[in-house]
């Protein structure tokens, strides 16, 4: 059992099931991201942990205590909202002090804690300002300080950076992560930005249409997507339809060219056509050396992205995107020319169907 457990949690609105059978066990101090497209149920799940929504079924436990039906103000959970949600009529210091004030902590303790929190989020001098006098990034730091001031057992963040511009987003991302490590606070972070999830999390929960598609480290989720959905949502991934020739040895045929999936295609039957995943960065625009899969195709598109040149090679029904580094000495191949590509045998992965309910 973890520190924060969700067991068989589901949420139904009328005839609409928006979260189905959600199971997750989060360790103390772990940073977990919920990643998925709009409407997949990330916020709803987070709000059930916060207590704003009551699950239609299932149990939520924090540190062994069943909190499923507790009110938000009885859970000692911290939350940071996308829209900051600072109280406009209170100064920065009063905002940070709010949780301590309603808990009737002594004045000097509140003052000390507020100063400490403002120092932690690097806004020690702005205590007397009102929220409207702060930039978006500053407001979100204050919101973070406010949530952490009451020493919550779990910190929940719902797309906290998506209203900010790119530069601040990246610096604040790193700050939140290092603060989280420093305080060793169990954290659930909702985002639809895969880069954010990949760069910050200990583990990622990839969600789609109310269900968990995969739970894994960023490395696992990115390199070994479990389902077609994960493969297409996380990173840019080539998905190829392959006809299975021999499940045991991993031999498959793509557009008439036989290749080998080094990890096997167990679970697929002979003659079946199944989706397989192949990362752009795993493909090179030459034959390569040793035991590699090699395929012949036609250059269909060349996109010069700066340091990287992205090339689409078509085999027949299937095409792949591949990335090569820009080389000032060598012009990219012209469109329409024939090309050989190669990729490691282990890089070609069989995708599972999405889990049923």
């Amino acid at each position: 059992m973890g520190f924060l457990d969700l067991e068989g949690v589901r949420k139904v609105y009328g005839a609409n099931t928006v979260v189905r059978n959600f199971n997750l066990s989060i360790q103390r101090g772990e940073f977990i991201s919920f990643l998925g497209p709009s409407g997949c149920g990330k916020t709803t799940t987070l709000r059930m942990i916060a207590g704003f929504e009551i699950p239609s079924a299932g149990t939520i436990r924090i540190d062994g205590r069943d909190v499923t039906e507790l009110k938000p103000n009885q859970r000692n959970v911290g939350m940071v909202f996308q829209s900051y949600a600072l109280f406009p009529n209170l100064t920065v210091a009063e905002n940070v002090a709010f949780g301590l004030k309603v808990a009737r902590r002594p004045k000097d303790e509140i003052a000390r804690r507020v100063a400490e929190m403002l120092a932690i989020v690097k806004l020690p001098e702005l205590g007397d300002r009102y929220p409207y006098q702060l930039s978006g990034g500053q407001q979100q730091r204050v919101a973070l300080a406010r949530a952490l001031a009451v020493k919550p057992t779990v910190l929940l963040l719902d797309e906290p950076l998506s209203a900010l511009d790119a530069k601040i987003r990246i610096s604040l991302r790193e700050e939140i992560r290092s603060l989280q490590r420093e305080l060793d606070i169990t954290t659930v972070y909702v985002t639809h930005d895969q880069e954010e999830a990949l760069s910050m999390s200990d583990r990622i929960v990839v969600m789609s249409d109310g269900r968990v598609e995969q739970i894994g480290t960023p490395f696992e989720v990115y390199n070994y997507p479990a389902t077609r959905f994960v493969a297409s949502f996380v990173g840019t991934l080539n998905i190829l339809d392959a006809r299975i020739v021999d499940p045991a040895s991993g031999r498959v045929v793509i557009d008439g060219q036989e290749v080998i999936a080094g990890r096997g295609v167990n679970g697929a039957g002979v003659g079946e056509v199944r989706p397989m995943a192949l990362r752009p960065e795993a493909i090179t625009l030459d034959g390569g050396n040793g035991d590699r899969n090699r395929m012949q195709g036609t250059i269909e598109e060349v996109a010069f992205l700066g340091a990287v040149v992205r090339i689409r090679v078509r085999f027949g029904e299937n095409a792949v995107l591949l990335d090569t580094f820009n080389n000032p000495g060598v012009a990219p191949p012209p469109r329409g020319s024939r090309a050989e590509v190669s990729f490691g045998r282990d890089d070609l992965l069989l995708l599972q169907d999405s889990a049923a309910d």
């Binding site: 103000n73 109280f87 949780g99 309603v102 808990a103 702005l126």
Partner: protein
């Protein structure tokens, strides 16, 4: 970081300073209208209050305000206005709260909005007769209550042509007006504030005390003052309802300017000046209170 914020706060002000805009042209009709129908008549009235009928300067009109009938008229007017404003504000707040934040069925809202829009404008002679016809001495409700419920309003001390009668009649448009003003204000309370407060451990009461009420305060106050002014200036309803049986300023004023026996327009001007001053004072009080309650807005 803090430097950035300062720039962000200062920048829009600096920018809008030097620009000439065609937008001025658009609001010219408004200014013209204001000057012609508000500023000029007010000036005329102020000047008239200090003139004798032949046009020379005098303080006599003002001095004549200090007679028992007029002083008590002001006093009753203020009382009726305050009572109907406060009661209207309270009831309006409860209704607006129920409609916006309560868990009532959705279709109720447009219904309440439409009804309030109509009712808040339903004043003057039609309103007075509507009330006479229902709650008046021979009104329908009065009769029904008497006949079937055995409640004799008159015996209970209720008289529509009295202070409370007028107050209740005013409430008919005061409450809907408050509802109309407060619904958007309550909409402005963001759901996230309530949730942020809750997750920080606050009870609903603590949230209202520390966040929602302070945020609403300027709107509540402004709306109540508006209600006060609304009642204070309402002459037609009062006149049609009570005739001269209730001594309030608008009726007294009306009597001076409409040209019968009492005809004394310059005393009328002075009466009106007094009303303008009282309304103005209420507004000054409002601005003062509002600034105290609103330091967090620019």
């Amino acid at each position: 970081m803090s430097r950035e914020a300062e720039l962000a706060v200062v920048a829009p002000v600096a920018r809008s300073g030097g620009r000439r805009s065609w937008a001025w042209l658009g609001i010219t009709p408004f200014f013209l209208f204001t000057v012609l129908f508000l500023i000029l008549p007010t000036l005329d009235l102020v000047v008239g209050a200090f003139q004798t009928p032949d046009g020379s300067f005098t303080l006599d009109n003002i001095a004549r305000l200090n007679q028992p009938t007029i002083v008590s008229a002001y006093w009753i007017s203020i009382q009726v206005s305050v009572a109907s404003a406060l009661l209207g504000a309270l009831a309006g707040f409860v209704i607006a709260y129920a409609v916006v934040l309560g868990k009532l069925p959705r279709p109720l809202r447009p219904f309440v909005t439409t009804f309030s829009g109509v009712a808040s404008q339903f004043a003057g002679i039609p309103l007075a007769f509507a009330f006479l016809a229902t709650l008046g001495p021979t009104g329908l409700v009065t009769a029904l209550l008497d006949q079937y419920a055995g409640i004799n309003l008159r015996a209970l001390g209720f008289n529509l042509l009295s202070f409370w009668g007028l107050t209740i009649t005013y409430l008919y448009f005061q409450i809907p007006l408050m509802v109309l003003i407060l619904m958007p204000a309550l909409d402005g309370l963001r759901k996230e504030w309530r949730e942020a407060a809750a997750i920080l451990g606050a009870t609903p009461w603590q949230y209202w005390r520390h966040v929602a009420f302070p945020v609403l305060w300027p709107s509540l106050l402004g709306a109540t003052i508006l209600l006060f002014a609304n009642a204070f200036g309402a002459v037609a309803t009062a006149y049609a309802l009570t005739g001269s049986s209730l001594n309030i300023v608008p009726i007294l004023l009306y009597a001076q300017i409409r040209g019968d026996v009492l005809h004394d327009p310059h005393l009328g001007y002075a009466l009106a000046l007094g009303m303008i001053l009282i309304t103005g004072l209420a507004n000054v009080g409002y601005i003062w209170l509002r600034q105290r309650g609103e330091r967090w807005i620019k």
